[in-house]
């Protein structure tokens, strides 16, 4: 007991150092701050960490000492019967109380500092949690995208958080703490519904991992996201690419809009009259007119204007698929469209051969053939 405990405490400290050591990437680490918000939290955490280590050391040292020193020996006399000591009691009440105050003061300062809406030039993003994906709406730019949040480096952002079903929680650890996305409580006419907010300024450009942090049902573990913090130029380019939406091309060939036969578009592509492969044209046809994907998904510039599923405009620019669970490439995309529930049970999307029937309602199977799957995937990936 004695020897083991002695080994035990430094062992744990050592373990701490080894395990938290360098060399391994932790993309979702909560102790690697990359925003002002995350820095405040991390500073506070570090302060508290060392205070608690101090207390732990005191308790463990005392305990070890007692274990070694006062272990019963065969010829021990009856120990002195001490019932208490007022001075000591006051001491170990006041001592911890002081430490607690020293922790509480910066804590409360940080509470207020991190819950202030930031400056005028902040960008507003309306975040909506859905089972099991994220919608990001930028009112300033008229952009609605999903699962990959674009932010501008050094530009403050105000995230307005809401949910359309159950409670989710927005958490990108390197950019700061989490905040719940509560279902918006309906209010009487003329009253404003209340929302949760997160305020921060990303300080480093890069790709950050995030994840839903409030248990939200069957596929909670698959509700991931990515945040792209872009240099101002790149961010501007991204918003501009939305203005020059790829839908422009689609618009011309949209049979509903122009009355043209879809087959003509495919023919045109084959003939090299339009700058796209026949596969893409075929995919567009399947997406827009056969599988009625547009009932739930929107692609700017086409008649696909559904708002129940993720907006797929510029889908080809996304790194990941299905809310961060896999790489966005042809192969994965085909499998995802074929059988979403294989990857994300209870997702609100039908497969090729099964209906979607769940809490989000009903939608019939897409009935896409293997060729059509390849074509739809190619079409979606062409949206850049």
């Amino acid at each position: 007991m004695r020897a083991t405990l002695l080994r035990y405490s430094p062992g744990l400290l050592l373990l701490t150092l080894v395990l938290s050591g360098c060399g391994v990437e932790y993309p979702q680490s909560s102790i690697s701050p990359h925003s002002d918000f995350a820095h405040i939290i991390h500073g506070l955490y570090t302060t508290i960490f060392w205070w608690t280590m101090l207390i732990l050391a005191v308790v463990w040292v005392l305990l070890t000492w007692v274990i070694i020193k006062y272990r019963a020996k065969p010829d021990d006399p009856k120990p002195k019967q001490i019932r208490g000591h007022l001075g000591l009691e006051i001491g170990w009440t006041v001592g911890p109380a002081i430490i607690v105050v020293l922790i509480a003061i910066p804590t409360i300062q940080a509470v207020f500092a991190t819950q202030q809406p930031v400056s005028e030039d902040a960008m507003l993003v309306e975040v909506t949690g859905e089972r099991f994906w994220w919608e990001f709406h930028y009112p300033e730019y008229g952009i609605t995208t999903a699962n990959e949040l674009w932010l501008e480096k050094d530009r403050p952002v105000n995230l307005r958080l809401a949910s359309s079903d159950v409670i989710h929680s927005f958490w990108v650890p390197k950019l700061g703490g989490k905040r719940d996305l509560n279902p918006t409580v309906a209010v009487r006419e003329g009253e404003e519904p209340s929302y949760n907010w997160l305020f921060f300024t990303p300080e480093v450009a890069g790709h950050f991992y995030g994840q839903c942090a409030e248990f939200c049902g069957e596929s909670h573990a698959f509700m991931l996201m990515r945040v792209n913090v872009a240099e101002p130029d790149d961010f501007a380019a991204w918003t501009e690419s939305w203005q020059a939406s790829p839908g422009a091309l689609a618009e011309v060939q949209d049979p509903d809009e122009e009355g043209r036969d879809a087959g003509l578009a495919i023919q045109a592509a084959q003939d090299g009259e339009i700058d796209e492969t026949p596969l893409v044209a075929e995919g567009r046809e399947a997406f827009l007119n056969q599988a009625t994907c547009g009932a739930c998904h929107a692609i700017e510039g086409t008649h696909a204007q559904g708002d129940r599923g993720p907006n797929l405009t510029l889908f080809g620019t996304r790194r990941t698929l299905a809310a961060g669970i896999m790489e966005n490439n042809q192969e994965n995309l085909v499998e995802w469209i074929r059988d979403p529930w294989r990857f994300k049970p209870a997702a609100a999307m039908p497969g090729t051969d099964y209906d979607m029937e769940g809490t989000a309602g009903f939608w019939p199977a897409t009935a896409l053939s293997d060729e059509q799957l390849e074509a739809v995937a190619a079409y979606l990936l062409s949206l850049k």
């Binding site: 007991m1 395990l19 938290s20 932790y26 680490s29 909560s30 102790i31 939290i41 506070l44 955490y45 608690t52 207390i55 732990l56 308790v59 463990w60 007692v66 274990i67 006062y70 019963a72 021990d76 120990p79 019967q81 001490i82 019932r83 208490g84 000591h85 000591l88 009691e89 170990w92 009440t93 607690v100 509480a104 804590t107 509470v111 819950q115 958080l161 079903d165 159950v166 929680s169 650890p173 700061g176 703490g177 509560n182 918006t184 409580v185 309906a186 009487r188 991992y209 942090a213 409030e214 248990f215 049902g217 069957e218 596929s219 909670h220 573990a221 991931l224 669970i325 049970p345 809490t359």
Partner: protein, 617 residues
């Protein structure tokens, strides 16, 4: 010591069934003896401990590698929901109640609890409620919305089927048992102390039972009401938690944690009580700062009511509410710290014997402190925004519930087993139990601090390989299996020692309190005559010990009159469970019909005499 040893030899013939006592199955079913009820509580809670443990093992296997899918996400959600629900409501709480039951009357010098039949009723409700809740797995409809059951995930829309019905009805049933138990122990402690047993002479375990009972009767009604709201929402279309109708899901969280935080102290205070009795005994010194430890316990119970929203820092309550709950939570750390220092001071200058009971107590001090300090970290609201709902929190609350509550109860098991059975638990196996627990427990939960800090949320079915947290999960899984072995060792030890353990006398540890003044195991009437107590450690004062043992070890000609056995508790408990189960139908007249058996058995119970006719009661 020598006088105790002789007395021990004299009573060594006692086994659990004293001569002339009925030991058949029917006698257990109809028993109203607090000691037998305690044993049933303990055995049942241990069975549920294994059921809850197996769920944890499956969870740990599923998390061994990233992006694994050994079981389905739906089953995973059922397993972690029921792991939490089982461990809290069917293991930690009833295990503590087992100790309350066995010890409170013995420690205060009473022959039974205030309401013996009500006590039996509590047990049977707990048993049937537990069976009902667990049976949900047979219907593949186990609760799946986490033990916190946050709205709107529990609504009829997002949780169709019977899963959540099992949960809210099961917890409602168990709540009845808890409130009845709380009423019973408060009355017992207020009213039934032996002559001279002033409140401030009571052993700490009884004190903590007293505080815990107050928490039970005040916290449980709140969750009961919340569950009733949920039931009306699910079955009859009420809109308490329906945001589209103006209902606020956050209200559920307030109600849940208003119950949930006192619940945390319901779990931990009994363990604090146990080690406050164990540490002085094995240090051969009275508890250091007895009044301070008592007041600290009461203070924890009180402040425990003002901290619930520290579970809700991410909910968006605003900076003022956050600050208030930060302050309240920080304050509650102080009395907890005071207790720890007092325990260390009790050992200081003592002559400390490291029996298994003492090892578990010291182990508790070592690991509970870790859990307490990680608690201080996420008591800081901004830090909490990073740690909330991650494995860091999972590590934290296992450190306080397993490393605190359960370790304390295991200390109590080794300490009081000789009193219950008349035999010692095997010390060698006990030390194996302790060390496998320490190694397994720490290996399971310590790495979770890291997986949490590195971004692994809790309640996830699997995690991305990118997170690089596999190593921590694998360590935890290995630890969990070592921990499981420790539980098997414990049960093996109990079974083996119960049959053939070394005989123990009335006071084998030379302990100071009243329960050690009577034979081991005690007579069914506990005390032939009630002793008079003059101090906090009556058996450590030579004169007082002799005068007490003269009374407590006396052979009696005519046994004291004890309450009648009764089968109405089990019938009423079954009726209550049945009537609640009928709520699942959602048909109002079926539910109304279900009340009839409850009413009839209550009436029969009330009309049945509690004591033998003509006994003067």
């Amino acid at each position: 010591m020598s006088s105790v040893a002789t007395a021990g030899e004299k009573t060594a013939g006692h086994t659990l069934g004293h001569e002339g006592e009925d030991t058949g199955l029917w006698s257990w079913i109809t028993t109203v003896d607090h000691k037998r009820i305690a044993i049933m509580y303990f055995v049942t809670a241990t069975v549920f401990f294994f059921i809850g443990g197996i769920k944890a093992m499956i969870i740990r296997v599923q998390l061994w590698n990233p992006e694994q899918s050994l079981i389905s996400p739906e089953l995973y959600n059922q397993l972690f929901t029921m792991h939490g629900t089982t461990m809290i409501f069917l293991v930690a709480m009833p295990m503590a109640v087992a100790f309350f039951n066995y010890l409170v009357p013995l420690q205060i010098g009473a022959r039974d609890v205030a309401f013996p039949r009500l006590n039996a009723l509590s047990y049977w409700i707990f048993l049937f409620g537990g069976i009902y809740l667990t049976s949900s797995f047979l219907f593949q409809a186990a609760p799946h919305a986490a033990w916190t059951g946050y709205a709107t995930l529990t609504s009829a829309q997002y949780s169709p089927g019977f899963n959540t019905d099992f949960w809210f009805i099961g917890l409602s049933i168990l709540g009845i048992a808890s409130i009845a138990g709380g009423v019973n122990f408060i009355t017992t402690i207020v009213n039934m102390r032996a002559p001279g047993m002033k409140m401030m002479r009571m052993p700490l375990f009884t004190w903590m039972t007293f505080v815990t009972s107050f928490l039970l009767i005040t916290a449980i009604p709140i969750i009961s009401v919340a569950l009733i709201f949920l039931g009306f929402d699910r079955l009859f279309g009420a809109v308490f938690f329906d945001p589209s109708m103006g209902g606020d899901p956050v209200l559920w969280q307030h109600l849940f944690w208003l119950f949930g935080h006192p619940e945390v102290y319901i779990l931990i205070l009994p363990a604090f009580g146990v080690i406050s009795d164990v540490i002085p005994t094995f240090s051969r010194k009275p508890l250091f700062g007895y009044p301070i430890v008592v007041y600290a316990g009461i203070l924890i119970g009180f402040i425990g009511w003002g901290v619930w929203s520290h579970h809700m820092f991410t909910v968006g309550l605003g900076p003022i509410a956050d600050s208030f709950f930060v302050a309240a939570t920080m304050i509650i750390a102080i009395p907890t710290g005071v207790k720890i220092f007092n325990w260390i001071a009790t050992m200081w200058g003592g002559s400390v014997r490291f029996t298994t009971a003492m090892l578990f107590s010291v182990g508790l001090l070592a690991v509970f402190t870790v859990g307490g300090l990680s608690g201080i970290m996420h008591a800081s609201a901004p830090v909490n925004l990073q740690q909330h709902d991650t494995y860091f929190v999972v590590a934290h609350f296992h450190y306080v519930i397993v490393g605190g509550a359960m370790m304390g109860l295991w200390a109590g098991l080794y300490y009081w087993f000789p009193k219950v059975s008349g035999r010692f638990l095997n010390e060698t196996l006990g030390k194996w139990h302790f060390w496998t627990t320490m190694v397994g427990f720490n290996l399971t939960f310590f790495p979770m601090h890291f997986s949490g800090l590195f971004g692994m949320p809790r309640r996830i079915y699997t995690y991305s390989a990118d997170l690089n947290v596999d190593i921590y999960n694998q360590l935890a899984t290995i630890g969990a299996f070592i921990f499981a072995i420790s539980a098997v060792i414990m049960v093996w030890n109990i079974v083996k020692s119960w049959r053939s353990g070394e005989r123990a006398g009335p006071n084998p540890w030379d302990a100071p309190h009243l329960e050690w003044s009577i034979p081991s195991p005690p007579h069914h009437y506990n005390f032939p005559e009630l002793p008079t107590v003059q101090s906090r450690e009556p058996l450590w004062n030579d004169g007082e010990r002799e005068s007490i043992q003269a009374v407590t070890m006396k052979e009696v000609e005519t046994e004291p009159v004890m309450p009648n056995p009764s089968f109405w508790p089990i019938v009423l408990a079954f009726s209550i469970t049945l009537s609640w189960a009928l709520v699942m139908t959602g048909i109002w007249w079926v539910i109304a019909l279900g009340i009839i058996p409850v009413f009839v058995s209550t009436l029969m119970w009330a009309l049945e005499p509690a004591f033998p006719e003509g006994s003067g009661h």
